[in-house]
Symmetry: C2
Subunit: 661 residues, 2 copies
């Protein structure tokens, strides 16, 4: 793999001046070496893994998956070449070409523009002569940020006008016209996960509360879900580098990782590094929540290099433009910000259009008020101007902008609860109902919509959230932050919220926004990002299993089989985090010989229960148990006879319940 990341210090080239500038944030903490990773570590492919591509109906549809190769199952007394082969296992892969050894990576040039041809062949967009937003133009001319700027920016695309009016290039627009786009086919292949090649597809029935999760996902199914608004494909025409993905209740539950600098920490290269790190571990989308320096430039670097959709909260940047004085915000500044960000390629916007003036007083008696940044900004604006939010009053104009680039709405939950006491109150549910109304308006413009949700909610009050959202928002996808199921564990809020996230994912939530151990305390570092992602992959997968998503249990089966057969390397390699699993095992049994050991340090060789289970199977086989496993079906005489035979065999074979390798 030819990798030229932000060049290591040993190399000198023209971009050094730029990359040095990227490493200098306004305020740097003492530990500023934390992101200066060895490039090899960041992009090292996971163990026993290989990037493979599944071709669709045309050669330019190449859907990535990660193929994990497994060891054979040892059979005692049998030549190794005759051991039971375990076929490779394929997993969904969000890491992009970073883990493709054949790819040439140059962060200063960005990723391959994978969707460029599909966008062009639709013939409904045009490349503009320059940026449309005033701010974007001003920034491009700004000498002081020149050294931070991504060099190879294409002129943006936008929908061609149709009969003098703004055109519409959203995936929903195509879907509603019966068109199956290459993106939809790509997604169908991606979601199906090569299930026909899985060995152990056993799983138990789920309870999906009315979801519809077919065994094989077809491109037509994708189209119909998008047309109905039950799912969204977030992919701005100006982010052709993204690998298409879908967010919807009838697809795999997805997770989002938040990154972004603040005035008090982090730099552009740290944020890019967090993004590639996050997608390596499984983030399906990334939100750039920067509030610090150089929001515009940071975002450009991220989008050009991100294989996953990027979301933002445009009001943050708009607020920076008015020096943090919320009441100085105007619709015009916000509108310009939307266009600026859409032309860079942001795939979805969080917009708190449901924070209405009349809901604001409903937060007066709350214990923790308004905890959403965007929500409190808009509340402040409404108070200062004593008038309805411009996000609400100009909502249709926002739709008009978004449809021309295919930016999706993430209708923000500005009034979500920040503690258990505030959960499910009038402010929160009032806003949710308004988001339902706004969804219908957006759909009149074929603009894709997902709905954001809480927050902090005790377990017994979670389902009410899901039920109300389904009812009021016409089945638009739900995208929640947790929820946290208790407030008493700062430092562990990835866990307090994983409980709620798993449950609400089970009930129908389509995407779960991660929470890191740093929640409530500070900006997450790289380890926090990974901890948050693995935790949320757990929650999303637990939800898929409980829903009975077809094929979800295959990975659990494969890993459990490896565990039972003491194929330690396979157990680690099939895990969500092979590195940590291996490292923890090696803390007490580091030698490679132990990787075939039929025990671990938990119990030692005498006590391992898996070690002494094997003969039970032999015994039961002897009783032809596969045909008569019911308790009633086994006659006392049959048991007696079978046991006698087995006892004789057991003693004659050396009294080993478990046959050693």
């Amino acid at each position: 793999m030819t990798t030229s990341i932000l060049p290591p210090k040993t190399q000198q080239n023209a971009s050094d001046k730029k990359t040095d500038a990227l490493k200098t944030p306004a305020h740097r903490s003492a530990k500023d070496t934390r992101f200066e990773e060895d490039a090899r570590d960041l992009h090292r492919i996971l163990p026993a893994s290989q990037k493979v591509y599944i071709q669709g109906s045309r050669p330019d549809i190449q859907v990535p998956m990660r193929k994990i190769t497994l060891d054979p199952t040892p059979i005692q007394g049998v030549d190794e070449s005759d051991w039971e082969q375990n076929p490779p296992f394929y997993v969904y892969d969000t890491s992009g070409v970073y883990t493709d050894p054949d790819a040439q990576i140059d962060l200063t040039r960005g990723l391959p523009k994978l969707r460029e041809g599909w966008i062009a062949e639709r013939g409904d967009t045009e490349q503009l002569s320059g940026l449309s937003s005033s701010y974007g133009q001003a920034r491009a001319r700004d000498i002081t940020t020149a050294n931070l700027r991504f060099s190879h920016i294409d002129k943006p695309r936008r929908a061609k006008k149709v009969n003098g009016k703004a055109g519409n290039v959203t995936q929903m627009h195509y879907a509603r016209r019966g068109i199956i786009t290459p993106e939809m086919e790509y997604i169908a292949i991606r979601e199906t996960q090569k299930q026909h090649e899985l060995t152990d597809m056993r799983q138990h029935d789920g309870e999906s509360f009315g979801a519809n999760t077919p065994k094989i996902i077809t491109p037509e199914f994708v189209r119909s879900e998008v047309a109905a608004g039950r799912a969204i494909i977030p992919n701005n025409i100006n982010h052709p580098e993204s690998e298409p993905m879908i967010i919807g209740r009838n697809f795999l539950v997805k997770i989002n990782a938040n990154i972004g600098n603040s005035a008090l920490g982090s730099s552009i290269d740290e944020e890019v590094s967090k993004m590639t790190w996050a997608t390596r571990w499984g983030a399906d989308t990334i939100m750039d929540l920067s509030t610090g320096n150089h929001i515009h430039e940071t975002r450009e670097w991220l989008i050009r290099n991100s294989p996953v959709p990027i979301g933002t909260v445009p009001i943050y940047q708009a607020l920076e433009k008015v020096d943090g004085i919320a009441e100085d915000l105007t619709w015009e500044i916000f509108r310009d910000t939307l266009i600026e960000q859409a032309e860079q390629g942001v795939d979805y916007f969080t917009i708190h259009a449901g924070v209405l003036l009349r809901y604001v007083p409903l937060t007066a008696n709350r214990l923790t008020g308004i905890v959403s940044r965007g929500g409190s900004i808009m509340a402040q604006w409404c108070l200062a101007h004593h008038t309805e939010s411009f996000l609400y009053t100009h909502f249709e104009e926002i739709c008009e902008i978004m449809k021309q680039y295919d930016v999706a709405f993430s209708l923000g939950d500005g009034l979500r609860p920040g503690c258990l006491q505030d959960a499910n109150d009038e402010a929160q549910f009032g806003e949710l109902r308004t988001l339902g109304e706004l969804t219908k308006i957006a759909w009149q413009h074929d603009v894709q919509v997902m709905i954001e949700g809480p927050g902090h909610v005790a377990m017994n009050r979670i389902k009410e959230n899901m039920d109300l959202q389904l009812e009021t928002c016409s089945d638009a996808p739900f995208y929640t932050l947790g929820p946290l199921t208790t407030d008493i564990a700062p430092g562990y809020d990835h866990i307090t919220s994983a409980i709620g996230a798993a449950m609400i994912g089970w009930f129908g939530t389509a995407m779960l926004c991660y929470v890191t151990p740093k929640e409530h305390l500070g900006l997450p570092n790289k380890k926090d990002v990974k901890d948050g992602i693995i935790t949320y992959k757990i929650a999303a997968h637990a939800a898929d299993l409980a829903k009975g998503h077809p094929g979800a249990q295959a990975r659990d089966n494969a890993l459990s089989k490896a565990r039972f057969e003491f194929r330690w390397d396979d157990q680690f390699n099939l895990a969500l985090d092979p590195d940590t699993a291996r490292e923890y095992h090696d803390e007490t049994l580091p030698k490679d010989a132990h990787k075939s050991a039929h025990f671990c340090s938990m119990c030692g060789p005498k006590f391992c229960s898996m070690k002494i289970t094997q003969n039970v199977r032999e015994y039961a086989k002897g009783l032809d148990a596969s045909e008569s496993l019911g308790t009633e079906a086994m006659s006392a005489a049959g048991i007696e006879q079978g046991m006698q035979e087995m006892t004789e065999k057991y003693h004659s074979e050396g009294r080993q319940l478990y046959k050693e390798v």
Copy 2:
């Protein structure tokens, strides 16, 4: 505090030879300094905390709690002496006298024998002239283990005979005779948690699925729950050092931490250190699952120094006595082991009496067979002898032993599922039904019983476990291991299982057995123990909240209020893990000045939503919103007028939505 733990190396005294021996396990890993803590760190009381005792109806009932002192709420422009006082917060405290600065601690002498007087005054026990078990006697004479032995062992107590038959001294026996013991009163005070002194008792209704959780727990309520078998008080008359606690659906959900050495790691002092560490962080009981060296001696040290009940799995030690050959086990060896352990003071025994011969073949087609150590040992024995388990056939004799010391049953789930595919199968549920039958037999002897449960179970199949257990086991308390809700995350199984544990606790499980990050991979170290405990405190508390346990939400309210008011120290100090919360915050904002900062590094000063919420409250107050908070009730004219007034005030006061300190 006068502390003489295993003496630090700088001191020389008579017990040095012994303590050196305690530090040398059979096999020591390279990192063997990990438990040689500075004694001050181990027993340092948590921040802003003080041990307090609540006296009961008699002076020798002194119930410990931890009192957390809080800062006042700053009010701008008001003298500090007039700030709003926040009363101290009291939390349930499992840490014993280790966190009492007035206590004299000497691990070589053991803890104060708190219950000794209560046991003696009942007059129904006698001190024996020596140990009753052959093994115990042999061990006491064994020169080679002399240097490991706890020196100050009292002769054991046992129930006096009644009319020539074995006496009965269980708490259930007393409860069923209408007797309220001092232990029951102690527990009532402990469970009530000084609720009448809590400030913010607001919480939402729970859904407890039929539990009965009264606002104030009385000693009579405790008695009636124990009499009915719905709760157990695990306290062997030979463990008078333990602080009484209760395990039952109608009480706070409890957690257990497993410790114990194996042939491949850990020493006696490491295990004692893990025990005091675990109780410091909140473990309600400890199980000593040692399988390695010196099980007998290790256990003695643990019991003599443990403020919480200790559980064991006697079959492990019995197996050691026959050199690990399961088929060489006999009822006699097992019986002797029960007596040996009961006379040391073990408070509950895990006994896999439900692993019946007929269930064993039902595991033949399982993916991971039998994962319980005890279960697989008994399965092996049954096969070898082609006869029913001696645990089952001698069950009443076991009851006869246990009632004489008040050891409780933890009826083991030897056939629990080790992966999602095996969950809820015939083997597992068959065993559960047998445990239900055995419960009734135990209750005929007034022996206390709790029932162990799974394991690995997908979320949608968890409630079925709880419902079946309630139905078949006559409401005996349920004690589960997780369950893990997916198999794919070794290294993170504390999280995969926290999801299931929180849910099954909500549904009615009384105690949750923790899982550490090392599950499936190796023996947990000290950090793993803490991670497991904090995670399970989260799960248990989330369950209490969802059940609507009275007063559960008070801590969430207090912490959220501190968070909202930027009382950072209070937020940390009220957290389950104040050290980590503070450490994470300080990573990016370490200066003490920042502890009053009205922001953190997540968003910085301009963006903090809590920072800009304050004026919303003012505004709504101005509208007399507390009387007319309904959307409908606020007339447009009223809103308009109120807003105009507030806008004028807002601008005149310097346009700060948030008043700075």
